[in-house]
Point group: C4
Chain length 218, copies 4
């Protein structure tokens, strides 16, 4: 077993651990937010799992920083990782990247470029939307005059926001909820614009290919 | 008559039947939703026609599955057909495809690539919007506190949603209505983005062609 | 004076007349809608001017039809002109085309392709938005429960609609007002998408050119 | 020191002064709008600084006009500068340009074309949004029936507007506030469309490069 394949195998193992930690992070956060009527020690357990997963992320970040030998420049070069470390709720942006890297590890991608970009952006947006709905629900549903009072409302609000429809029948009213909403808009709209653009390019490619494959009229 | 032309002829006949079944499906569904005050046996007849058309779709899907010899892989390769089989209200996405295939059967397309993509996406969106307005109206107009109480409201809501304007003067309030709304947004926005993009490309092409055709100044 | 330059000169004269008629049409329509408190005979005069201008459009359409020798095919080939003849409030789409043709008559365009497309679409959208605001105001401001009660409201509503923001603080409530609104969305969004796309392409071109013009570092 | 490097050095110095004046202009305007409860002479000082900075802009414009030797044509060629002179709140559009020019003065840009366009448009939009929130807050928060009563509301409204979500829970009600809102939409949407488009192109480039860099499977 030579150096390259060992590094690849280690990278894949790290990827598995990080993906698992991300899933656990999201799951424990979701349980803590949604299942408010659990006994206190279960909620504490969820909080512990959340913090533990965060610790795993910090450890991974620190190790990669040390191995890179870049010093403070590392923060700027890997700006996405840095943001995700500080705001772990944006982690969905990375999870898909890791999953993508692992998938590419064992075989050639079977999707065309535009389709892959659309799938990547679509998955990110779905995960991000779910996390955003959780976070907004957590900060809003106890506020006075809140219009987002159930998790269903929060999901509905998230969908209407990401589609830029914005009915306004439900909308965040607390400063914290609005801050999360602005973050969600900024990330979601750029990604969704990419989905739409890639989908359009893919559709045009499909029509083009059909033109070429059709036999000439006799 | 050789094998190829016979397959083509059979494909065209299947296309005619499927298009007819789709039109019948949509029409009977529309009558059942909109004409609530019909006598019960007419409503039952509509329901029977709807179910019969669905059976035709299932039959077509099953036959193509068996002929393909792909086994379970068929579900994944023909994912669009699978989705449309489960959610027949998304069928408009296919109807246009079939019509397009038939039209291409007897002569070369006369429209440029961008214009054809725009027409395809525009037709899909129109049919999808009509179906979405029907489905939302069906689930909303009897709900307490509903703001969508007439079919006109539903159509107005659909237009405002597909254009991503979203005034919020009328909006779905039931979980089912909101689920349909999210599906409508997801399909509609991708398709409308394609219409807009193709329209822009086509307009730029028109301006380009005019530049070329203009005789040089004397 | 040879045949070509005479045809060009006649085309330019027709263009001048049509542009004048369009401006008169819009102006007389605007006066009739906005200046409700004028004495009746002034309103009648406005109506007469509006109808007269429409007659000019019909005459121009009929003459071009006869000269083309296309028969009923003319309606399909010149579909934009046909739509504009039936719905003269969509005429702004053509006015710019005519103005553009005249401008191209006497010198080479000085703007790049993307800038010209953006200017064309931007002008069309502005005129269309003004006409749409007029038409919506005319049908809405007397309706019970109307939220669009002044022309200022109508303009504000038009801007919010064309930008797809759609606050919903003012929105049409009558069937006629909503029909006009849907037409406005359909035309406006396609054109505005073109403006945005062309603006982006133009901005990227500007940045590209700057890169090329910069002298290499010494 | 030859002519070219002296002109470059003078240009850089002018750039520094203009950037400083722009920052001062924005800061003094913000203080005057937000800190209403300051003693009167502080508010007067802010007003004086604002006017002084404007005078600097006018001086710079006048000098460039005289040096260009273009006469009245200057107003049309440098239309962006002219607009910004009349509506100094749109100055953020220029500040970034100046900063960009200075940055390019001492080394090659390190970002790819699409990333640079996205950064430029993103920075402009952020500054423009902040200025727009300030201006709308100034004209709205004292109006009767105003829904924008705190600066937080104004920022939330600006974000929802620029993202074209437009909930409508807060919206301007005064003619002046609505005029500023329309200006903000027009500038913001074109720039944000550019950000989205450039982000999509950049993402596709990243995916493309990854495909190329991956070693072929063994």
């Amino acid at each position: 077993m030579d150096h390259d394949s060992r590094a690849l195998s280690r990278g894949r193992r790290t990827g598995h651990v990080l993906t698992g930690a991300s899933a656990l992070f999201l799951a424990s956060y979701a349980v803590r937010v949604l299942a408010n009527d659990l006994p206190q020690r279960w909620l504490n357990l969820c909080l512990a799992v959340t913090v533990l997963c965060w610790a795993v992320f910090v450890l991974d970040y620190a190790m990669r920083w040390r191995l890179s030998g870049l010093g403070l420049k590392f923060v700027r070069v890997h700006w996405l990782d840095t943001i995700v470390l500080v705001l772990p709720l944006l982690r969905p942006l990375c999870v898909v990247q890791i999953h993508d890297a692992m998938q590419r590890g064992h075989d050639r991608p079977r999707l065309s470029l535009h389709a892959r970009v659309a799938v990547y952006a679509g998955l990110s947006v779905t995960l991000l939307g779910f996390t955003g709905a959780l976070a907004v629900y957590q900060h809003e549903h106890t506020a006075p005059n809140a219009s987002i009072v159930t998790f269903g409302d929060a999901v509905w609000w998230t969908c209407a926001t990401l589609a830029t429809v914005g009915y306004g029948d439900v909308a965040p009213v607390t400063p914290m909820g609005r801050t999360i909403a602005v973050l969600l808009m900024a990330c979601g709209l750029a990604l969704l614009g990419t989905v739409t653009g890639s989908f359009g390019s893919w559709l045009i490619q499909v029509f083009m290919r059909e033109d070429e494959q059709r036999p000439p009229e006799s």
